[in-house]
Amino acid sequence: MSTKLAVQLIILLPLIGATVLGLFPLFARGLRQHKTLLGTVGTLIVAVPFGLTFSLFAQGVDTPVVTSMYTWMGVGDFSVNIAYRIDQLSLIMTLVVTGVGALIHLYAIGYMAEDRSFWKFFSYLNLFIFMMLNLVLADNLLVVFLGWEGVGLCSYLLIGFWYEQKKNSAAASKAFIVNRVGDFAFLIAMFILVKELGSLDFATVLSGAEMMSDVTIAWVVLLLFLGATGKSAQIPLFVWLPDAMAGPTPVSALIHAATMVTSGLYLLARLSPLVLMAPEVMVVIAIVGATTAIVAATIALTQTDIKRVLAYSTVSQLGYMFMAAGVGAFFVAIFHVVTHAFFKACLFLGSGSVIHGMHHVEHEIKEKGYEGSFDAQDMSFMGGLKNYMPITRWTYLLSTLAIAGIPLTAGFFSKDEILFKAFEYGADGNLYAWFVWGIGILTALLTAFYMMRSYMLTFEGSSRWPMNDQIHPHESPGTMTMPLVILAGLSMIGGAIGFPKVAEKIGLSNWIHDYLVGHGDHLGPVAEPDIHSHVSVAAEIGLILLGAAIAVIGVLWAWRFFAKYELGGDELIRSRFGALYRWWNTSYYWDMFYDRTIVRPIIGGAQKALAPFDKYIVDGIVNTLGRISMALSWLFGRFQTGVVQNYALAIVLGTVILIALFLF
């Protein structure tokens, strides 16, 4: 099969899936009941593109292959094609999107089995995959933007999937609008590029960078980064992601952990040669990433909703990836995107499995007459689940160890590489990188601690749901546990694609570096900065040991602490940190701040000032002028005895006054 045909199939199959799954059951209501069929079609339509991508991957790409479908819009010399680009970077991203995507589709067959709108869910999921593929395969920024807003749309539809609850639909709108703020910056960046270069094709943008002034490049990169802070949930635009947990859990795993939220990193990696030309902006990227990483980690520590812990953890890990991008280690950012996709998808799906079980409990206890409060996502009502959900427990534990960075897991390699690159870049004279490194170490400790906390409170200790002596949750069905097992396995071994440099001594190379950046004659799509003074082998080994120690300490500490105190552990932390803890627990009052300084003034201003202004001033002047001209015309009629009222003239007079008022 030619590459072109393969690319077309990869892109189009999910679109066909979305259309078929969306439209047929919409009109043929009988189809809606055939959930297994619908789910299988939905899953296969993502699995086949994965197979195709894998075959392209196995063939290998020497030079980028561009497949142009047709001209999307063209005016004069400016023209944008619907065109897709196959190279090392887009292949890796496509493998993650379709691979993890297919697993999550499979999982959703079980998770959503009870849902009335099962068909709609799969249609949206397929549409999401289509949009995400547009994003990562695009050959120009405008098609990226098509995918970029398209995934935002799917995110909107899926967060608000259970729209009967007001908070879900509010969360959906919030996600869309906050993302739009980022998209605004993205648009301006494109305007600048079109003005300067006349094109949005990646080839032109990257080769034409030299024609732009440093200031222009810095603006473009800064604006694109601002766009990325929306989609990838960084300060200042991260506030939508925790609320986005209102969506069904497979959505959280797919969109809000593994794929969509990593688009910002993909964009920076894709444009890495350009980003490297804007060192001041790299400082901004690194600092924002580091700040987000630590801020989100502290918030995660205080959450009791299991999905919110994972949501803030995602924000924090994305911050980690931006730290990497900010020190020029774009390939490491992508490396962490990949490993994070494995363990965070596994964690989210694991939490979904737990919630699935807890919903069962909720159902049972309600039937038995329990009327107290209960929340299937709240860890305060969990505990001891390891006895009832063994597969979920083990996979959750393994992926927790991976995200914590326990040696030899996937997270260990990617996280360590980020820290190493930050250190190395700092040693090369970029002092901010050392600050980033320090924050990174601190965040790593916190990550190990709060993730282990979530595991302990969920699976270990005593059961805390009502009537826990009679009612027990069950392990989830095979379609749900199988993806868990696969993802947990990948979280263990996934690090093998990026061994640290020191491992060259024992014959292990950093494959993802060589693949993305290049090695020898092969030149990859991702750029990296020139490093002049390299870190010594001894120092590198020392850093690796430090990273390993941090992870182990964090995990063990949380293990012992929460095994001893269980929920009381939170109380101890709260009393230890006092006001600081309250800050964390309320997400640093971030939402309240936006609400008071932006949302309410604008909307209140529109309602209380602009709308009355429109009614009484703008329209008031018009109506007054109308009345004056009527009166004048009456007067005029009086003076010219016998002449009929001359409305037209009056109108003309009134209008002249109007013009005079507004133009002079």
Binding site: L26, Y70, T71, W72, M73, G74, V75, G76, F78, I82, L142, F145, L146, W148, E149, G150, L153, Y156, G160, Y163, E164, Q165, K166, N168, S169, A170, S173, F176, I177, R180, V181, D183, F184, L187, I188, M190, F191, I192, V194, K195, I602, I603, A606, Q607, L610, A611, D614, V618, D619, V622, N623, G626, A648, I651, V652, G654, T655, L658, I659, L663
Partner: protein, 537 residues
């Protein structure tokens, strides 16, 4: 393929139909007859699309019979045809014709016959406006649309229909009377300069005529004022929400879909090429009003409680983009403005249609009377969400193409201040999501708050027939706008060319040069020191 007089048939078929309607025996036959006539006009207009010569899109095509309108001694003629600017707007008008009839099907119960007669007369006026190449003929068609619209609002409208109708007519008339003064002046001046002293309103003669710079500003203001009210450009917009809210659904769709475009079309067709220096020197001023309109319209939209009023104000915001595109005077922005006229006609038209469908079910336009109705009307919700996304400029749907080209073009403009204006205008993209999603979330999502909404029926067959073509167009224009963009590109190119030539000429300041122009598609690089050779005697 050149079909003489096809255009004349398309323009006057509805008028003839309206005369025949006088003899219709029953209300039912009236509706069917009106549907057949509008469908006929649409089918007849399809050859315009297929027979249109895109390569020569800047030239007048489908030119039919010509005859003097008033007397042989005046060069005022029945002169019609279409070029790249007209084609899509004519098609939009004929396409919306049957849709408007269908959406009025059950809604109009009193004086049915009169309603459809007026609707058909209105269609003749609207189609004529986009085909007239004699400016007095244009004016006649322009005014012809006023009377039927006045009655549509005044008779079949809501509670404050009389107020809204009178305001609509007087406001618009005020502007167009001023334009008439300008037209008459222009006719005499051009007649003396380029037509051997014979009064002329022939579009091409007027195009050849180089309006003296001192006069340009005045004439420009008179023209621009008439069109600014029609569009409407802030602060002349206040008639629009009143008219929209009071008008029956069909009237709102006509208004948003076509009538407002007569204003933006007029700006492109007459203001820019007749008064290029004045247009160029007012770019910033009008750009500022356009951008105020974008932001202001969006914010006031958010403050509404009435769904129809919200959509009306969203029009103010959306048309601000079109005006910005027109006055940014770059090829991209002008092309964006042209396609955005079509896009706005479709997506805002669809919004009014859907709000109207809800009104027919529940007899209220207040958003608070809805809530959670996605549960009872899922198919309607699907179309609403799609339309809202199109209207909010989601890439892949129609609204994005126009907005993007307008903004990208305006940003590339060398005119001072344009970058700043574009950046402010781009915030409209955020605000559109704010007010539109708020409306959707408030009316369609959340718990079902009113018992009466629970049993609301979903779309019926007639309503699907209305909405499906609209939805398809949103997707087609969003994903494959190129065939549509191609149609107006030669015209846009020539227009910019004419403007540049005239301005280069005006700035060359050589009194010996003969003030005459020839059409030429060659773009002249800006800032060329010499006037282009075609301008030399």
């Amino acid at each position: 393929m050149e079909l003489p007089n096809l255009l004349t048939v398309i323009i006057f078929l509805p008028l003839v139909g309206s005369l025949l309607l006088l003899f219709a025996p029953s209300d039912r036959s009236v509706k069917w007859f009106a549907l057949i006539v509008t469908l006929g006009a649409f089918v007849l207009s399809l050859p315009l699309w297929f027979g249109f010569d895109v390569v020569n899109a800047a030239d007048l095509q489908f030119r039919g019979i010509e005859f003097p309108l008033i007397s042989e001694t005046l060069d005022v003629r029945y002169l019609i045809g279409i070029d790249g600017f007209s084609l899509l707007l004519v098609l939009l008008t004929t396409f919306l014709g049957p849709i408007i009839v269908l959406c009025s099907w059950n809604y109009i119960t009193k004086s049915t016959k009169a309603y459809y007669i007026l609707l058909l007369i209105l269609q003749t006026g609207m189609t004529g406006v986009f085909c007239a190449f004699d400016i007095l003929l244009f004016y006649i068609f322009f005014e012809l649309t006023l009377i039927p619209m006045y009655f549509l609002i005044g008779i079949w409208g809501g509670e404050r229909r009389i107020y809204a109708a009178i305001k609509f007519v007087i406001y618009t008339m005020a502007g167009s009377l001023l334009m008439l003064i300008a037209i008459i002046y222009l006719g005499y001046a051009a007649g003396n300069a380029v037509n051997d002293g014979i009064f002329t309103t022939n579009y091409f003669k007027l195009l050849e005529f180089d309006v003296p710079f001192g006069m340009q500003t005045w004439l420009f203001i008179l023209f621009a004022f008439a069109f600014a009210i029609k569009v409407p450009i802030f602060p002349f917009h206040t008639w629009l929400p009143d008219a929209h809210v009071q008008a029956p659904t069909g009237g709102s769709v006509v208004l948003a879909g076509v009538l407002l475009k007569m204003g933006t079309y007029g700006l492109v067709r007459f203001c820019l090429p007749f008064f290029p220096s004045a247009s160029a020197s007012h770019t910033l001023l009008i750009g500022i009003f356009a951008v105020i309109g974008i932001v202001y319209g969006a914010l006031v939209s958010r403050a509404q409680t009435d769904a129809k009023k919200l959509v009306a104000y969203s029009s103010v915001s959306h048309l601000g983009f079109v005006v910005l595109g027109i006055f940014a005077l770059t090829l991209e922005s002008l092309q964006g403005a042209m396609i955005q006229m079509i896009n706005h006609g479709i997506s805002t038209g669809a919004l009014f249609l859907i709000v109207g469908m809800l009104y027919e079910r529940r007899h209220t336009r207040l958003m608070s009377d809805y809530g959670g109705i996605a549960k009872s009307v899922p198919v309607l919700t699907f179309f609403m969400v799609l339309t809202v996304l199109a209207s909010a400029g989601l890439p892949g749907l129609n609204g994005f193409v126009g907005e993007f080209l307008i903004l990208v073009g305006a940003f590339s403009s060398d005119a001072p201040g344009m970058q700043t204006l574009t950046i402010i205008a781009t915030t409209g993209v955020i605000l559109a999501a704010v007010y539109l999603l708020w409306m959707v979330s408030r009316m369609f999502f959340g718990p079902l708050t009113h018992e009466a909404n629970r049993t609301m029926p979903d779309l019926n067959f007639r309503e699907l027939v209305i909405l499906v073509p609209m939805a398809l167009l949103m997707i087609i224009l969003g994903l494959m706008p190129q065939p549509f963009l191609k149609v107006s590109e030669p015209s846009a190119n020539r227009l910019l060319n004419v403007i540049e030539q005239k301005r280069a000429f005006a700035e060359s300041d050589d009194p010996n040069l003969q003030r005459r122009f020839e059409m030429n598609d060659r773009r002249i690089p800006t800032g060329s020191p010499d006037p282009p050779s075609v301008l030399k005697p």
